[in-house]
């Protein structure tokens, strides 16, 4: 038990060190332009702690969380699902089209929409699984290719003759009527808005992730395969099935990424206005949170804070993109820091084992004259 607490502490320290380092680099960059880092931080903090910003931060974090969990499912098994991007957009589009056109009783419609999204994401990821398991195609490349192909597919399906509806300058899926939407929660008073109702879904997903991976046999098999596919195979795991199952689960979770916005905010999908790039953000957050549902939660909030509070910078003539550098540096340095922690822990363990196993001091070891 102490072992685990020690590790946790080390990891937290690693994150803090990485964050400070990233902050340092960003400050340097700001200073070269003559901007004051403390000014930037205070501006961002002031703006970020305003009620209305807090609301957008929470909502942003919810979406990021889902994306990061989807990626983390793959990471735990040493699979890199970089296709979350294509999966969630395709799922959101298909779910939006479904919800807009089908009429079902209250409550059932929302559930069905979510299921459609999960299915779409799972199917798109299923292609990756097929290619990997049957043809040995690296999922890193196939997911990225499928991202681009998804863009084309979505564009095609959004033709007015298929799923698209003209809305001024925009083309969207058929808007979802109130009975099919998900209301918000009034969690932050005086914020002028509501938190996504589906934040509950995000929490449920996180809990499910934690429970399945750490407490079920399937989760054990998953982690074992991620640690050593050969040992897992020798222990009875069907590695191919596991690979396929993991990719499909990751895709299904990715499908959920667009749901809070679709059902709680825009009520329709549009290629132009729907948030993009969530796939790569999810990867960054999963790395930061060490593929652990609680770590990811913190990382998602942090990332969302950086993203949203940076909008104030433009008003002060500081390009808000500097925050993206911070984010990038944080990811890279955190990853390095985690690796160092891992090595340190291993060395310490070896020492501990050596101490526990060594013969007690004072026993004569050598006999006989040196050669």
């Amino acid at each position: 038990m102490r072992e685990r607490l020690n590790r946790l502490l080390l990891n937290v320290i690693a994150v803090l060190v990485a964050a400070v380092f990233a902050g340092g680099i960003t400050s340097l960059i700001l200073l070269t332009r003559g901007d004051s880092p403390t000014f930037v931080i205070s501006q961002m903090w002031d703006y970020g702690t305003q009620r209305s910003t807090e609301l957008t931060i929470m909502n942003g974090a919810t979406v990021y969380y889902l994306s990061a969990v989807a990626v983390a499912i793959g990471f735990r098994m040493n699979l890199f699902n970089i296709g979350v991007d294509g999966q969630y957009r395709l799922a959101a589009m298909l779910a939006g089209a479904f919800a807009g056109s089908v009429s079902l009783p209250n409550g059932l419609r929302q559930t069905a929409t979510i299921l459609v999204a999960m299915l779409a994401g799972a199917a798109w990821a299923g292609l990756v699984a097929l290619l990997k398991v049957r043809r040995g195609v690296s999922e890193v490349i196939s997911t990225i290719m499928l991202n681009f192909i998804a863009t084309g597919l979505i564009a095609y399906l959004m033709r007015p003759s298929i799923f698209g509806h003209r809305f001024g300058n925009d083309v969207t899926t058929k808007p979802i009527p109130k009975s099919g939407q998900v209301g918000g929660l009034d969690l932050i008073p005086n914020s002028g808005g509501k938190v996504y109702g589906l934040i509950l879904l995000a929490v449920a997903v996180g809990v499910a992730f934690h429970v399945v991976v750490n407490y079920t046999r399937f989760g054990f098999d998953l982690r074992a395969t991620g640690r050593s596919a050969t040992a897992a195979q020798a222990s009875g795991v069907n590695v191919k099935k596991m690979t396929a199952a993991t990719l499909v689960m990751s895709g299904a979770t990715a499908g959920l990424v667009g749901m809070p916005a679709l059902l709680g905010d825009s009520h329709s999908y549009s290629s132009i206005t729907f948030q993009t790039g969530l796939g790569f953000t999810g990867i960054a957050i999963a790395l930061l949170g060490r593929n652990n549902p609680i770590g990811i939660a913190f990382a998602a909030v942090l990332w969302s804070f950086l993203d949203n509070s940076a909008t104030i910078l433009d008003l002060n003539n500081i390009p808000k993109e500097v925050v993206q550098i911070t984010q990038g540096v944080v990811v890279l340095s955190v990853v390095i820091a985690y690796e160092l922690v891992r090595r340190l822990a291993l060395v310490r363990q070896q020492r501990a084992v050596g101490r526990a196993v060594a013969p007690p001091p004072g026993t004569p070891v050598v006999e006989g004259a040196p050669a």
Partner: protein, 423 residues
């Protein structure tokens, strides 16, 4: 890419692979090229999509293939030393930005080349530090660098290009470009031949016209990178040592090869090549634009796998991808539609080959897909415009799906290595 492919990919029997890698490559490649030309000619004649072998398309093919090929070559250098480099896309992005930036402010495309080198080098060194010195998982590092590069490029573009005519955080103003080297008279001579639309003759004329009118000094320099890489890696002692780091780093270390240093050099070169690819892309488009790389860093990796980690095969793969890219960019809908026929024919050939090798399932699937593609071709007049930009990515997937199995990557590729390790 996950390296433990022993559990997923079935590796081709040793004798076959050894034979495959020692076949006289140049003769074999020549045969393939001739057959390809005949096939495409045939398709052009049947479909009337005259652009697919025009000089313009060939020229565009070369220009679009080069960024992909350079990224792939970067991947090759890196993986031959045992380090997987997924961050090529990020290094390419830095290359596009710094290439455009340097070219614009110095009013010289040559300085832009230097910019590309610089940008790619930054990314390469970062990747080397993270993976070689710190032992971070190579794919994680690559992804992190791509994320960082995207943010960095956006920030720097905002800083340098805002306020310049036509510039802003997402694009640069027009940059000075390289001039094309034109062989006098070639354009009109070959152009005339082309317009006759004669079977094979006009197509060859198109190829020659493309070759003689669309090359810039930058292009030629980049093309030279391939034979140069081959020579350095396979004919010098430096190259042997570098490749040994990717095959058996412990053996290399035990013989005094400085493995860490070799990996650093290889990954840095890898970044430089990707950066050059980015600079080339910027030069070709005449501008830096966000998202310009469009995944070419990754397509380059696919070309590298397709080429069995050798420069020659890599160039062939990149040309294939460049060709599809060029075709879809020019007369998109009709040309891609014509390509459907080509794809159907090729798939039939491949399917027949698989069936002949008794691979019943694979063969049947391939022939089935060929039939579907042919059906699509005959039923429609053109491919929906939205699918056209996705063509290169689809082709990449197709090629990988069919070719992934007979390949052999460097034995210690992707495995993090520490001094004193015994594997």
């Amino acid at each position: 890419m996950t390296v433990d492919d022993s559990t997923t990919a079935t590796v081709a029997p040793r004798a076959e692979r050894a034979a495959a890698s020692r076949r006289p490559n140049s003769l074999y490649a020549l045969y393939l090229a001739i057959i390809a030309l005949m096939l495409i000619s045939f398709v052009r004649a049947v479909t009337g999509a005259n652009d697919i072998t025009s000089g313009g398309t060939v020229g565009a093919t070369i220009s679009l293939a080069i960024p992909i090929a350079l990224a792939g070559l970067g991947g090759l250098w890196s993986e031959r030393s045992g380090v997987v480099n997924i961050g090529l896309e990020g290094m390419m992005i830095l290359g596009t930005f710094f290439g455009a930036d340097f070219a614009y402010f110095s009013h010289s495309p040559w300085v832009g080349v230097l910019g590309g080198i610089a940008g790619g080098l930054i990314g390469g060194v970062l990747h080397a530090v993270a993976t070689v010195t710190f032992g971070v998982d190579q794919i994680v590092s690559g992804v992190a660098i791509t994320i960082l590069a995207t943010g960095l490029a956006r920030y720097l573009a905002g800083v340098f290009f805002t306020g310049q005519p036509g510039g802003g955080p997402t694009q640069s103003p027009s940059i000075p470009r390289f001039q094309k080297l034109r062989v006098p008279g070639a354009d009109s001579f070959f152009g005339k031949l082309e317009r006759h639309h004669w079977f094979v003759v006009s197509d060859v004329a198109g190829v020659l016209r493309g070759l003689t009118t669309s090359l810039t000094p930058f292009t030629i320099l980049m093309i030279l990178m391939f034979p140069l890489s081959w020579f350095v890696l396979w004919r010098t002692s430096f190259g042997l040592r570098l490749r040994s780091c990717g095959e058996s780093p412990s053996a290399a270390e035990s013989l005094g090869v400085p493995v860490y240093r070799m990996k650093y050099i290889a990954v840095s070169v890898s970044g430089v090549l990707a950066g050059l690819g980015g600079a080339f892309l910027a030069d070709f488009s005449g501008i830096y634009r966000e998202g310009q790389t469009g995944g070419r860093g990754f397509i380059g990796l696919a070309a590298m796998i397709f080429g069995n980690w050798r420069p020659g095969g890599l160039a062939a793969g990149a040309s294939l991808f460049g060709y599809t890219d060029a075709v879809q960019l020019r007369q998109g809908a009709t040309s891609v539609h014509a390509l459907l026929l080509l794809v159907a024919v090729l798939l039939v050939v491949i399917g027949a080959y698989q069936l002949w090798r008794r691979e019943w399932i694979v063969g049947a699937v391939v022939v089935g897909v060929a039939a579907l593609v042919f059906g699509w071709y005959s039923v429609t007049n053109d491919v929906p415009i939205e699918f056209v930009p996705a063509t290169p990515y689809l082709i990449t997937l197709l090629v990988l799906a069919l070719a992934s199995q007979r390949l052999r990557m460097p034995a210690a590729d992707g495995i993090p290595w520490r001094r004193g390790q015994s594997t």
